[in-house]
Subunit: 129 residues, 2 copies
DNA sequence: CAATGAACATGTTGTTCATAA
DNA sequence: TTATGAACAACATGTTCATTG
């Protein structure tokens, strides 16, 4: 369901984020914006700046697919600065999916790399190692 | 104009095809469907099957951007099996663009590879060489 | 302001239909 | 049938706006 059998070109951003978010949630570290901030930091030297929009949409999809459960929490200093945040945890289905998805994504990432390396060879000659 | 300065994720299919098609046209080998057939063959072990739709749209874009000129030709056996085909050639502007675009795409392809290799490391540990 | 979310618009693809030789 | 093309639908993504604490 997550992967079409069609002759796709490259990985989609959502699929890419899905694995990062599932793993973040598995370790149950942060809520949405924190995950985003960490991702932005993590990719800052890779020319990729994920948007809060994409992260939230991916999280919502995980939820509607039954892969994660949500819990509202209150964070901050009482009577002063409270903030409602959403805490995510994997469901049993989510744990299974993570196992499966990790395997699928490895294959897919490697396929994409091979495709781009082929393009490098086709246009710029044999790769120097 | 071809490249946005935004924090894009991965290369788009059109940009990928553009370089292949420009180089094909530079060597002035084939018309649209032949280029497509060769591309399909070329990527058959890479899980990517470009569609005639994408190839034609990319060619039209090259034309409307003034990078290539078109010439109609008739192919086949007279009075029996004629077929109108389009022959493409680079314009002067197209030659300049090809030079520039080759350089840009090299950087971009390498960026994408680095991004995916980072994902492989993040999810599956250090890469074994 | 931090956090979540949705609306809206645009960009990018894939599927199907149309036409000519 | 081969070659070209366009229409249309579907999906993916970015930009902006809204709400709450």
């Amino acid at each position: 369901m997550a992967n079409k059998k069609t002759g796709g070109f490259l990985l989609k951003q959502r699929a890419f984020l899905k694995l990062y978010l599932l793993e973040d949630i598995e370790k149950n570290k942060e809520h949405g914006l924190q995950m985003l901030a960490r991702l932005i930091k993590s990719f800052e030297n890779y020319g990729y700046v994920p948007s809060h929009n994409e992260v939230y949409k991916t999280l919502h999809k995980l939820y509607s697919d039954g892969l994660v459960k949500r819990k509202e929490e209150i964070k901050g200093i009482p009577d002063e600065n409270l903030q409602k945040i959403i805490n995510y945890q994997l469901t049993d289905k989510g744990k299974e999916e993570l196992d499966l998805y990790r395997k699928q994504m490895k294959v897919e990432l490697e396929r994409c790399i091979r495709l781009m390396e082929k393009a490098l060879r086709d246009h710029y000659g044999p790769l120097r190692t």
